[in-house]
């Protein structure tokens, strides 16, 4: 493996490629630091602009954005008690009190170190695991794929929101929308309303931009968040030990970082969970393990920051494992990245390692380089980012909306794409308001065509019921899917009942 990576190091370390990785990580860090903008928005908007890049630079750039953003979100979390992304909420809870106590620099630095370590660990796991999984996945036929996709949908639906039923509705709606276009066997138009532009279905990029970026902008404009107008928290205490990370801090934090990296990686590989689940799980584990409980939020806890940041950064590379190995997106970022691959004419999936081996290896090396760059950018750019965090959203939002329009125009076939973006922006706005997981919708939309195709292929291949027994893997996953629906619904009912009881007490 090492010599394979070495052979592509030449192209990965080309100046042009490195420049794009640097740009991606910096841009991501910036976007993450700004509250209201997240990696989903940034990636969706940036994808159309990567059309003119080499495939390696395009993918490395976009993944760099994700990495940078997840790390940068700690900045506003710690300084302004406003998480730059939902996954940094625990960071805000444990880090903001530290900032108030004058330990902002310490908290920011530890957050950065934890992010980079978690990210590196997860990238290594991705490199080791993805290809193994892909070789196994080559043996997956349509029957198994149908069952796996069904199971993934259920899993994602159950874990993406507070309601399994709403999640399933969103996912099935996504699959329904993905049916628009020419039917694959006979070429007959479905739900195309006579528009030729819909013959290949709704274009993914405008849908993603609309649902993620545009709807988020609409919500932000409605909320007009007021950023905490605190005094310059960076110049807090004059004590040196409050500005740096001491050996004692490292001793305290090494355990949460290791645990967080592991939790984040596992959460990333499983489809549908997301970075927030990772960071909350890790934070909660550290909280319990330290025995300090509520004191974590009272006086702040560097261990909490470390736990949350290492986990949420570990989720990002790991979430690419199912995408590269099987072609199934387990997260919103992965789903959008499919669009990026498609633009370059590449299909993620088990064949990726056979046909585009060099590209994937180059992406791996680039991701490792990105982790290192993240460290430098976060460390040396701290002052700058602390200042940028305070830029008024009124300046940022129009720029983002403009970029959205450009992207939708380029990848949606002109003004038609902008129309699609607007429609889905509105749909995204309402689904966020009513807690219909737009994540599940987007993933349903992306895997819909694969699901339908593999289902129809299965119906053609398995002509008799006894033949189904030839596919044990499929049966296992199908059973898991059914059990999943049942168990997750029961679990949620229990949770709702407990919450109701807690409220009445």
């Amino acid at each position: 493996m090492l010599d394979e990576l070495y052979s592509v190091a030449g192209s990965a370390f080309a100046v042009g490629n490195l420049a794009w990785i640097l740009f991606g990580v910096t841009l991501g860090y910036l976007v993450g630091a700004l509250p209201g903008l997240g990696k989903g928005t940034a990636t969706a908007v940036a994808i159309p602009l990567t059309f003119y890049l080499e495939p390696l630079s395009a993918i490395a750039f976009l993944v760099g954005i994700s990495k940078g953003s997840t790390a940068g979100s700690a900045v506003s979390a710690i300084l302004l008690n406003t998480p730059g992304e939902p996954s940094s909420t625990p960071t805000a809870m444990a880090g903001y009190p530290l900032a108030r106590a004058g330990k902002a620099q310490k908290a920011l630095k530890m957050g950065l170190f934890a992010s980079v370590l978690g990210d590196l660990f997860s990238t290594v796991v991705l490199i080791l695991v993805a290809q193994e999984l892909a070789e196994y996945a080559l043996g997956i036929g349509p029957v198994e794929l149908t069952a796996i996709l069904a199971f993934s949908m259920v899993f994602i639906a159950g874990l993406s929101g507070r309601s399994m039923i709403k999640g399933l509705i969103a996912g099935l709606f996504g699959i329904l929308i993905s049916c628009m276009g020419l039917e694959i066997e006979t070429g007959s138009p479905r739900l195309t309303f006579g528009l030729i532009e819909l013959y290949d279905g709704l274009p993914l990029i405008p849908v993603a931009i609309g649902m993620l970026a545009l709807s988020e902008m609409m919500i932000q404009i409605g909320q007009r968040q007021r950023l905490a107008d605190e005094a310059d928290l960076l110049k807090g205490s004059s004590k040196r030990e409050d500005q740096i990370v001491t050996l004692a801090d490292w001793k305290n934090c090494i355990r949460p970082i290791v645990r967080g990296s592991l939790i984040g990686t596992v959460v990333g590989i499983l489809p549908g969970l997301g970075a927030s689940v990772g960071s909350f799980l890790s934070y909660g584990a550290e909280r319990r393990a330290s025995g300090r409980g509520a004191d974590f939020e009272e006086s702040g806890a560097i261990e909490g920051v470390a736990a949350a940041e290492s986990a949420d950064n570990a989720v990002v590379p790991a979430s690419l494992v199912p995408l590269f190995a099987i072609g199934i997106p387990g997260s919103v970022i992965a789903a959008i990245l499919i669009g990026a691959f498609t633009i370059q004419g590449i299909t993620p999936g088990p064949l990726l390692f056979l046909e585009n081996k060099d590209l994937i290896l180059g992406v791996y090396v680039s991701m490792l380089a990105a982790s290192v760059m993240l460290l430098f950018i976060g460390y040396f750019g701290q002052n700058m980012f602390a200042r940028i965090v305070r830029i008024s959203p009124a300046l940022i939002m129009p720029i983002v909306v403009f970029l959205c329009c450009i992207g939708a125009y380029l990848q949606g076939g002109g003004t038609f794409g902008i129309g699609v973006m607007i429609v889905f922006g509105i749909i995204g706005f309402f689904s966020k308001k009513y807690d219909f997981s737009f994540v599940t919708f987007l993933i349903g939309f992306v895997i819909g065509p694969s699901f339908e195709l593999s289902l129809r292929q299965s119906l053609g291949l398995v002509t008799d019921l006894p033949e189904l027994l030839d596919h044990p893997v499929a049966i296992v996953f199908a059973v898991l899917a059914v059990v999943g629906v049942w168990r997750l619904t029961v679990l949620q009912r229990k949770q709702m009942a407990e919450m109701a009881k807690a409220e009445t007490n």
């Binding site: 020419l182 066997e185 006979t186 070429g187 007959s188 006579g194 030729i196 013959y199 195709l453 291949l461």
Partner: protein, 321 residues
């Protein structure tokens, strides 16, 4: 003095007349006078797009003007063809792509508003090696063997990567009286996956089997004449399956009404391209042989192909979607 003046006037008049006559002659062949556009109905990066881009560079050299490639994907080239139909007859834009988008698709999809009559054809350059294939280790090596296998087993599984592929097999199945399960696949790659993993007995291919030597065998050619890559493989027509042939060359087309001189000039440029080493290099790389047709032959092919497909659709009782 008067003579000189008359002479002078005559000379001026003759020069003027000569100039006007010359410019009139130049108007015939001066196209292109500004950059022209090549329209491709598929996304960037695909086989047709790659060939088209190589061709565009050669044409630019031959015609002396830049050739810009624009991708307008959608509906199996339908979006490109519909938008291009009425785009003007001055030769600014031409279409490059698989002819089946023009001969087959309008006949199976009633939503498409164009037909082969809406365009004029400057020539054809390469040919998809449309054929019937099977996994290498199957016990049959030709169509007769396949039919025997199908009758013994009670039916075969067939991977069909497009509506056209399904229709052809339906015609064959009807003629032979065999049962066929149609497994839809997503394009050539999906078909290859099915064949390589031995999940189907038989499949239609656009030529992609050349990338997997020793793993996929070619049983018959679907084109009306034998294929360049498989000269020893009989065509379906030779084997007694009349009326199911489908030719799939890539053609260059202009909207109807484009000046004949423009067509002629493009035809000459295409001829030069067909002998260009760069073109040979790319066609060797993607294993799609160069098969040049001039404008007249290309038009004849389009017309006969459209008619043959119409007959085939009637034979399988096809209901237009």
């Amino acid at each position: 003095m008067k003579h000189v003046f008359k002479g002078f006037a005559a000379a001026v008049a003759m020069t003027a007349a000569g100039a006007i006559a010359a410019s009139a002659a130049m108007a015939d062949t001066s196209w292109p006078t500004k950059p022209i556009t090549m329209l491709i109905g598929y996304k960037a990066g695909g086989g047709t797009d790659t060939k088209g881009r190589v061709l565009s560079k050669i044409l630019a050299r031959e015609l002396g003007q830049q050739v810009n490639v624009i991708n307008r994907p959608g509906g199996g080239q339908a979006v490109a063809l519909e938008s291009f139909k009425s785009s003007g007859t001055d030769g600014d834009t031409f279409f490059f792509g698989a002819v089946t988008g023009i001969t087959l698709n309008p006949q199976i999809n009633s939503a498409l508003k164009f037909t082969n009559q809406d365009y004029v054809y400057a020539g054809a350059l390469t040919e998809f090696q449309v054929s019937m294939v099977a996994p290498q280790d199957r016990p049959y090596d030709d169509m007769a063997g396949l039919v025997k296998f199908a009758k013994e087993k009670g039916g075969i599984k067939y991977a069909s990567l497009s509506p056209g592929a399904k229709i052809i097999m339906q015609a064959i199945a009807k003629q032979e009286g065999i049962n066929v399960d149609y497994i839809p696949t997503k394009g050539g790659r999906g078909m290859v996956q099915m064949v390589l993993s031995n999940q189907v007995d038989f499949a239609y291919s656009g030529g992609i089997q050349s990338r997997y030597p020793g793993k996929i065998k070619t049983l018959a050619a679907v084109s009306s004449k034998r294929l360049g890559n498989y000269p020893d493989t009989p065509t379906l027509d030779e084997l007694g399956y009349k009326g199911v042939a489908m030719d799939a060359p890539t053609v260059v087309a202009f909207p109807k009404g484009t000046d004949a001189a423009i067509i002629a000039k493009m035809e000459a440029a295409l001829k030069a391209a067909s002998m260009d080493p760069a073109m040979k290099k790319i066609s060797d790389a993607i294993k799609m042989p160069i098969v040049y047709l001039n404008a007249k032959d290309a038009s004849a092919l389009v017309t006969s192909s459209t008619a043959a497909i119409a007959d085939m659709l009637v034979a399988v009782d096809y209901k237009k979607q």
